[in-house]
């Protein structure tokens, strides 16, 4: 196939059945590029998590936020784990679409983790938050923040809302955490629906353990 691209053959090809051949080659090339672009997404997500994991551990040790790699504008904020599913994710402190490619992010409009109110963490349904579909009421979600704050949350339920029809209870309803991703999980197209896992805090350790 590669030989077919030599200038002499191309000239010959252009004379005869070459034009369709050229078009088909372009289609193949486009396909390869698309696959590459597609695979780059989960690869980036996975690699970023590894780097973030390291940055998070270093941040914990250094007691100050450290960037996972030099040219980004976000820092790891907390580690979220679901023991039952063996899942662990590092949460970022920026809600930009850019940051979402690297990890789940805490939405800036909602409450901070560890304060009364509802913290909201969003991530992509096909990478970091794919496990949300396996979370059920009663599951335990643990969060450890950069400052060493530990929280255990229990899943109280799930719901599906439109992206612009979501309201989070705050302050008086106690400490809560909502995990948000797109819905339905296996859709090809992007849609207006969001899947929300509601949790509320069960224990609040203030020690670093």
């Amino acid at each position: 196939m590669i030989r077919a691209l030599s200038p002499a053959r191309m000239k010959e090809a252009a004379r005869g059945r070459g034009l369709p051949m050229l078009l088909l080659l372009a289609v193949c090339l486009a396909g390869v590029v698309e696959i590459g672009r597609g695979l780059y997404v989960p690869a980036k997500a996975a690699v970023a998590q590894v780097l973030l994991e390291r940055a998070f551990d270093r941040s914990l040790a250094a007691h100050r936020p450290l960037k996972p790699w030099p040219w980004v504008d976000m820092t790891p904020l907390a580690r979220l784990s679901v023991p039952r599913l063996g899942v662990s994710r590092v949460i970022l402190d920026s809600g930009s679409g850019q940051a979402l490619a690297f990890g789940p992010t805490l939405l800036p409009g909602a409450a901070p983790i560890g304060a009364r109110g509802t913290a909201v963490i969003a991530a992509h349904r096909d990478t970091h938050f794919r496990f949300l579909r396996d979370l059920h009421a009663g599951d335990i979600v643990t969060v450890r923040t950069r400052q060493g704050l530990n929280r255990r949350y229990r899943v109280t339920g799930t719901s599906v809302v439109r992206w612009d029809r979501y309201a989070a209870p705050d302050a008086v309803m106690g400490e809560r955490l909502d995990l948000v991703t797109c819905f339905p999980f296996d859709a090809i197209r992007r849609g207006p629906l969001r899947y929300v896992v509601h949790t509320e805090v069960v224990t609040a350790h203030r020690d670093g353990a």
Partner: protein, 710 residues
């Protein structure tokens, strides 16, 4: 026998309360102050309907009930005969009790009990005496029946000593005025009492517990049984004195026959009593020239006059408004009601203008103010409120008082401190609570310049509460009974909201004297009549109603001698007097003892059932043999149509936990709208697309190369 009954009545709520843990304190505490302290922090208990412990009937009752309603509408008054047939299908002697609604402004004046061939006519007696008469008859084995008023719109019938296999007919009669708004007349026949929420703080003693037991005594039949109880047939003879047009039965299929000025409307088939029957009509002619009726009696002349202010106010400028929307998301709203309430609220939010201020408050047994104070109705804020409304879910109890107080309270702050601003409270609820008097007292005490508009939601709202709250609060009552009705019913209300009431209203009579009710004139809006009922020794003279609409003076004169005769006005006048007394009681102008005495006097004088007078009928011949036991049965009722059984009775642990969480904060709770980001990379789609392209390309190339090789 009276004593054990009283104990049993008190015992059941006591058991229920014991289950509801902290609320028990309210009963045991000797002082009311202790009860007040116990109430706010009782978390889960406050979200539990008193009904819950015993309120569900899993089996069909032994006594089956069928109801027939024969209605005659003449002029603007409906006379209704309700016949309840109690059939005992068991092998035991039974005492049956049935709780049912009647129009809140109706006057029950007749009770007949039909046993075999005999008709026993009931007589009016003071409440305790009637109960004693009934209990004595019950004990001696004779058939007896007792009709008591539990609320102005809620009555109960007791029938004692129904033999195995026997049917006893109880026939009561009442009259009620026909409502009118914007030229549409409407007749509402309520068919079912919605389960009521009893706020724990109101259970301060024996009397309160007995009262709470009375309004929640009817168990709700579990819909899982798949049957509906209490079939009802309705026939209406409609002779309003003019040709009827636009005759509509809102929620039931009907057959209509007869000439235009004397229509007969029948239910297509008998229906289960699970939602209100509403009939509406208009006059075929432009102006029915009606609205004045009189009755001549030995005691004097009675007159009823409807005066409607001019409808066209569209050219009047609408002043800036401060609107506070209060929405009920308690458990009883579960199902269609919640959707209707949300849709109504969203509809109303859509009519806010930038110069208006607004706020939204939601409540169940907790409460949330969307904003601390009313804010300007910018598109952002209205959008936030809309999202807030859409996110509401029905659960928990109905603690309406704190929400009402919050709505009334911020009158002095926020955007509404300009005296020209109209301050309006739009309250969306089904009103299924037992502490109606507290609500009225709160509106009167803190009402200030706020106008309270009630929007009744659902198939069977508590119209007594709605009507009284809106009257005392200087607003109007609108009922939204089906999801499809939201726009049709909210539009006229919003029209009313955009224009001020007729102000400085006064009524005077020239050339005669007239004792008029209501004593406190309500606020009157465009298209809504002021209905006056009065008594005089001799009817004469002219009635003049006047007031200010905007900056213009408006006046209407009615020549009283031209009234048409109607046999119902006297009873309606008595009912009006009682409403006035009850209003004074709720507003603290009359103490309980005096109010009770006054109600009893009026009830006895006019022979109508009131909170202090009951109708009792006793057969002369004993029927139950001595020594045969008598079984008491509280007849179950259907859940009102559109209600969600699971929401009402099957509160999940998570819900209760949430309620407990909310209670410890105490203060108003905020909820925050948040736009959620796009969270799909769609990489699977990209890879799939790429694979598809590659496949197409490779296949094409393969074909091409093979052909060339050939």
């Amino acid at each position: 026998m009276q004593h054990p009954l009283a104990i049993r009545r008190a015992l059941i709520p006591a058991i229920v309360l014991a289950l509801g843990a902290p609320a028990t304190l309210a009963l045991n505490a000797s002082s009311a102050a202790a009860a007040d302290e116990a109430a706010p922090d009782d978390g889960p208990a406050s979200g539990v309907l008193l009904l819950k412990a015993k309120g569900v009937s899993q089996a069909l009752p032994a006594v089956r009930l069928g109801t027939d309603m024969a209605v005659t509408v003449t002029g603007q008054v409906a006379r209704v005969r309700v016949t309840q047939a109690f059939r005992n299908t068991s092998n035991a002697w039974v005492e049956a009790s049935y709780l049912y609604p009647l129009p809140q402004d109706g006057a029950v004046d007749s009770l007949k009990m039909v046993v075999g061939q005999r008709v026993i006519v009931g007589e009016i007696q003071p409440r305790e005496k009637a109960l004693a008469t009934y209990e004595a008859a019950k004990k001696s084995g004779t058939k007896a029946s007792l009709v008591e008023q539990q609320r102005p719109n809620m009555f109960s019938t007791l029938v004692a000593n129904v033999a195995p296999g026997e049917t006893v007919l109880i026939s009561i009669e009442y009259q009620a005025p026909v409502a009118q708004a914007n030229g549409t007349f409407s007749l509402r026949l309520p068919l079912v009492v919605g389960p009521r929420y009893v706020p724990p703080h109101t259970l301060t003693g024996q009397g309160a517990a007995v009262d709470a037991q009375a309004v929640t005594s009817a168990p709700v039949l579990d819909p899982a049984l798949g049957v509906k109880l209490n079939p009802t047939s309705i026939a209406v003879r409609l002779a309003p004195g003019f040709d009827v047009a636009n005759l509509v039965s809102r929620y039931h299929k009907v057959n209509v026959s007869g000439p235009l000025n004397d229509r007969t409307i029948r239910l297509d088939e008998s229906v289960p009593a699970d939602r209100d029957f509403v009939l509406e009509w208009r006059s075929a002619a432009a102006d029915p020239t009606l609205g004045l009726f009189a009755q001549h009696t030995d005691k004097g002349d009675y007159v009823m006059a409807s005066v409607t202010p001019p409808v066209d106010l569209s050219r009047l400028p609408t002043p800036p408004r401060e609107m506070v929307f209060v929405i009920d998301n308690s458990g009883s709203m579960g199902g269609a009601s919640m959707e209707e309430a949300k849709a109504s609220l969203v509809h109303a939010l859509g009519t806010l203008r930038p110069q208006d201020h607004f706020n939204v408050i939601r409540f169940d047994n907790t409460m949330t103010r969307l904003f601390d104070h009313s804010v300007a109705a910018t598109p952002d804020q209205v959008g936030l409120a809309r999202r807030f409304a859409e996110s509401l879910e029905a659960q928990g109890g109905t603690e309406m008082l704190p929400a009402l107080k919050a709505a009334l309270a911020d009158a002095a702050i926020g955007g509404g401190n300009d005296p020209d601003t109209l301050r309006q409270i739009v309250f969306l609820t089904d009103g299924e609570i037992s502490n109606e008097r507290e609500m009225m007292a709160a509106i009167d005490a803190d009402g200030g310049r706020s106008h309270v508009f009630m929007v009744g939601i659902g198939s069977a709202p508590n119209d007594y509460l709605m009507e009284r709250m809106s009257t005392i609060g200087g607003g109007v009552y609108t009922h939204v009974g089906a999801p499809g009705e939201v726009a049709a019913k909210m539009m006229p209300l919003l029209d009313v909201l955009s224009h001020p009431a007729v102000r400085n209203m006064s009524v005077r009579v020239e050339g005669g004297s007239l004792d008029l009710t209501p004593s406190r004139l309500p606020d009157v809006y465009a298209g809504r009549p002021l209905v006056l009922v009065g008594r005089t020794a001799h009817l004469a003279g002219t009635l003049t109603v006047s007031g200010m609409i905007g900056s213009k003076r408006w006046e209407k004169r009615v020549d009283l001698t031209r009234a048409q005769p109607s046999p119902a006005v006297e009873k309606l006048w008595a009912r009006r007097l009682i409403t006035d007394v009850e209003a004074d009681r709720a507003l603290g102008k009359l103490d309980d003892a005096k109010a009770d005495a006054e109600v009893e006097r009026i009830g006895m004088e006019s022979g109508i059932v009131t909170s202090r007078t009951s109708l009792v009928a006793v057969d002369q011949t004993p029927s139950r043999p001595q020594g045969t036991p008598l079984t008491k049965e509280d007849l179950p009722i259907n859940l009102p149509a559109g209600w969600d059984f699971a929401t009402l009775f099957g509160q999940s642990a998570a819900t209760v936990g949430r309620g407990a969480d909310a209670a410890d904060g105490g203060a108003a709770m905020q909820s925050q709208g948040l736009d959620l980001p796009q969270t799909a990379t769609g990489f699977v789609g990209l890879v799939a697309e790429g694979l598809a392209l590659l496949l197409v390309g490779m296949t094409g190339l393969a074909l091409l190369l093979r052909r060339r090789a050939a």
